[in-house]
């Protein structure tokens, strides 16, 4: 009986993954770091942010409906799990960077709340810390900080918003983004992003 795990180029992809993680300013223990922890981490999300898991379903339903882009890595069935993880991490960092740049470039006059964005798939956290009129992105961090508005979403929604294919308001309506935090901060965030996120 053969062991059926498919692991080509394991060490190469592992080394690449380590290199990518090292680029992160403050790497948290997300699903990219420890894939077997994702189930527990999603459970944690559902405890802290009720119905956060509904976002994942809304995302794939929007993908099937053609409203969100599909995961290109899902087409590479021959890649090992480690290789898929490595590609997805690189992609997530790239798209989150674009997303942060798009939000930072909105020219808002009023101070904005700091955001903690969690990608539901890998449960990967990033922070967009408000510096008054600027946003300072910190990708792949340990988690939210006090006072953050938590944005539960996934990479397909980030890609669509960052690329201008979907407005933040549409993302909220589709359920592919949910906001959690103090009601006043959530309302301020909703007002900020639904009015200005689409260029």
């Amino acid at each position: 009986v053969s062991v059926s795990t498919h692991r080509p180029n394991r060490w190469a992809s592992f080394a690449f993954s380590i290199a990518l993680c090292a680029l992160a300013p403050a790497a948290g223990a997300c699903g990219f770091d420890d894939p077997s922890s994702i189930g527990m981490q999603r459970g944690m999300l559902n405890l802290a942010y009720p119905e956060a898991l509904h976002v994942g379903t809304a995302v794939w339903q929007a993908q099937l409906a053609g409203r969100l882009p599909r995961d290109p890595v899902a087409q590479f069935g021959d890649l090992s799990p480690e290789q898929r993880g490595t590609l997805r991490l690189a992609r997530a960092r790239l798209l989150l960077g674009r997303f942060a740049a798009r939000l930072a470039d909105d020219g808002a006059a009023a101070p904005r709340p700091s955001l903690a964005v969690v990608l539901l798939g890998p449960v990967m956290w990033s922070r967009l810390e408000s510096g008054g009129r600027t946003l300072n992105p910190a990708l792949h961090v340990a988690g939210p900080e006090a006072g953050d508005v938590v944005v539960v979403t996934d990479i397909a929604a980030i890609e669509a918003i960052a690329g201008g294919a979907l407005s933040f308001g549409e993302a909220l309506d589709l359920g592919v983004v949910r906001l959690y935090g103090r009601p006043a901060d959530v309302a301020a965030t909703r007002h900020w992003l639904t009015g200005r996120a689409r260029g």
């Binding site: 059926s4 994702i38 527990m40 459970g43 405890l47 802290a48 993908q63 099937l64 006072g147 508005v149």
Partner: protein, 674 residues
């Protein structure tokens, strides 16, 4: 029988069987629902606790009907009921920590055929409702996670729990931190000591239990849907799975007199049996236990010593077979029938092995080795039982067979085209197939890294119960007498009888079951007498799942103890579809394959709608004790992974199986020369 004849028979028999079943169902009396809190009358409990009167003894003559109706006076079961004896809701700590927000109410509503939104936000409904459901939440910390989450004031006396409650109420980052700590503590068995202190949590868990039994009472509808009370005893020493599901014959009035015995009380099965005996003495009720996932026990499920290392005795054997009349052969976490390394001649051991053969439940304590396998799997366990019976005078491993799910998301959806996984994280999504559920890193003592993925999980299985009616008492009695079988998710109908006088004509009779009961014993029974110069005969009949696949073949698996005292096994092909002939190696050629993986479809253009035969053991020796069980194999059909690949437009690894042959396993019939 030619294919044409078989199809003709099938065309006549299938609608007739459905009509008979529907008639029997329609005519079945509908007992009124008991009042809240009232005990359900224990039908037949005094005069015939296990329904033994429903069995004819081997070799007895058929009772002559004095009525015109051939069915007058009939007492044997005429319907098989499909259900799940192993189901977790948000009351189980691991289920709750994994994100499950569906409780008992949702579980029962789903099982009865209603539509519910899952914890992931998906509208979900079963293809076909179940006849019965046993919610078997873990006794350990029953409902406590939910109570912590909701800020039960009892926990405020504990500094850690109070801090968690405060953080959860704060929301945002604080809530995330608290949730992480709670989930981690639950997963690593590091909850504050007060969580295991009966003085603190006893009253809380008792109130959860009473709400639990009340909900079962509310949804139990005798004659229509059975909500059997149960729970899981979760013994897992060093990661070796020794879990048992405990099933109550009784209603709330009796069940509420106790609180479930958990592995926090003891991990020793003998202590569990003693508690079960105590329950019966105290309440007058009845319990049975169903162990599961022998495949994840690393040889401990059928070890030839007691839990504490003592020798097996006749008393041990009798107690074990009394309290544990059944074993779960398949579920989401693999198949426990046997393994190719110990049963190399069996070419149908390909379902539910990959991934699960890596080691025990938690992948601790080293990998599963070939040396462990003789006491790991059900078939080898049955074989060890025969050997022990010869030594001890009683068989410790004498059990019938069921399948069930062990799902932890309240969704007993063991349907390939409607599979919602075991945990919430495994509910439908494009990437669920590749999620890692358990992983061990390389270790000089424990060996190479081992990884279990969601794609290793089965959409399985069901418990099929031949009961006289759909009530707690009738279903429990059928389980106790082992007149049950397990399936991988199909709802094919299988009859299996053993006796000394079956003839080929019995398999062709419209009154097949009449002959089955009159001349022998049904699945789960014993052949105690061996008439001179006779070999046992077996009457087996299988009817395809009405909305499922055709049948490939029926096999009988025999285990026996040879002259040297060593147990042996052999698989016989008994009856099959088409005009196939066994080859020179004695193997029947494959049935064929109509599966279109890309479209996730198959056609019933091969196989048979029903198969029935009488088989006489050609190798029988009266002096050798033996067991026989039937295995019915369907033609190949798409696996849940094929449906996911199509629906989500993803490409999975080449090692992910896309099709399989669904099946059923009957409980054995034993022969003893004594």
């Amino acid at each position: 029988m030619s294919t044409t004849n078989r199809l003709n028979v099938a065309l006549v028999a299938l609608p007739a069987a459905v009509a008979i079943a529907l008639t029997a169902f329609a005519q079945a009396p509908r007992p009124p629902a008991p009042a809240e809190g009232a005990e359900v009358p224990a039908k037949g409990a005094l005069e015939d606790p296990y329904g033994e009167a429903n069995r004819a003894k081997g070799g007895e003559a058929a009772p002559k009907s004095k009525s015109y109706s051939p069915y007058a006076g009939r007492k044997y079961p005429t319907r098989v009921y499909f259900g799940d004896t192993h189901h977790h809701t948000s009351n189980s700590g691991d289920a709750f920590a994994g994100g499950n927000r569906l409780g008992l109410v949702e579980a029962y509503r789903l099982a009865r055929g209603e539509e519910v939104v899952t914890s992931s936000g998906i509208a979900a409904k079963m293809g076909r409702p179940l006849d019965f459901l046993v919610v078997s939440d873990h006794a350990e910390g029953l409902g406590l996670m939910q109570q912590v989450y909701e800020g039960n004031p009892t926990f405020m006396a504990d500094e850690t729990a109070a801090r968690w409650s405060k953080m959860m109420k704060a929301g945002g980052a604080e809530a995330a931190k608290a949730a992480g700590e709670i989930v981690s503590a639950q997963a690593n068995n590091k909850l504050p000591p007060m969580f295991k202190d009966p003085k603190v949590v006893g009253s809380i868990m008792k109130s959860v239990w009473e709400k639990y039994t009340a909900t079962a009472e509310k949804y139990n509808e005798p004659g229509k849907f059975t909500a059997m009370i149960g729970y899981e005893w979760t013994s897992v020493p060093k990661g070796n799975n020794l879990h048992r599901n405990i099933l109550f014959r009784d209603g709330k009035a009796r069940a509420d007199q106790i609180f479930p015995f958990s592995s926090w009380n003891s991990e020793d099965p003998e202590k569990l049996w003693a508690w079960m005996e105590g329950y019966e003495k105290k309440t007058g009720g009845k319990l049975l236990a169903i162990p599961h996932n022998a495949n994840l026990s690393n040889g401990r499920m059928f070890e030839l010593s007691t839990f504490t290392g003592g020798p097996l005795t006749k008393d041990y054997a009798e107690r074990r077979s009394r309290w544990e009349p059944l074993q779960e052969i398949i579920q989401t976490k693999g198949t426990s029938e046997s393994h190719p390394l110990v049963s190399p001649a069996d070419e149908f051991l390909d379902m539910g092995i990959a991934g699960w053969e890596y080691g025990n439940l938690t992948l601790e304590d080293g990998p599963l080795t070939k040396q462990m396998m003789p006491t790991t799997y059900l078939r080898t366990g049955l074989m060890r039982g025969l050997e022990q019976e010869a030594k001890l005078g009683a068989n410790p491993f004498k059990f019938g067979i069921v399948g069930s799910s062990d799902i932890h998301n309240s969704l007993s959806f063991m349907e390939e085209d409607n599979y919602f996984g075991k945990m919430v994280i495994q509910e439908p999504s494009p990437d669920r197939w590749e999620h890692i559920s358990k992983e061990s890193s390389w270790d000089p003592k424990l060996g190479p890294a081992r990884t279990r993925y969601t794609w290793h999980y089965n959409a399985a299985g069901w418990a099929a119960v031949w009961a006289t009616e759909n009530t707690r008492e009738a279903l429990w009695d059928a389980m106790m007498r082992k007149e049950v079988y397990g399936t991988s998710g199909t709802r094919m109908i299988v009859r299996f009888f053993g006796g000394w006088e079956y003839t080929a004509g019995d398999a062709k009779s419209r009154y097949l079951a009449e002959a089955g009961y009159a001349k022998g014993v049904p699945m789960g029974g014993d052949l105690a007498k061996a008439p001179a110069n006779k070999a046992p005969t077996f009457l087996v009949a299988a009817l395809k799942d009405p909305v499922g696949a055709n049948l490939d073949r029926v096999q009988i698996v025999k285990g026996w103890v040879d002259a040297s005292g060593k147990a042996q096994e052999k698989v016989y092909d008994i009856v099959w579809s088409g005009n196939r002939k066994p080859g020179a190696n004695g193997k029947l050629p494959p049935v064929g394959d109509t599966v279109d993986v890309a479209k996730a479809t198959w056609t019933n253009t091969i196989g048979a709608t029903e198969l029935a035969a009488v088989w006489k053991d050609p190798d029988f020796k009266p002096s050798q004790r033996a067991f026989y069980y039937a295995r019915v194999i369907e033609i190949p059909t798409p696996r849940w992974t094929a449906y996911d690949q199509l629906r989500f437009g993803v490409k999975m690894s080449k090692d992910v199986p896309m099709k399989h042959q669904e099946r059923a396993w009957t409980s054995p019939i034993w022969y003893s020369p004594s």
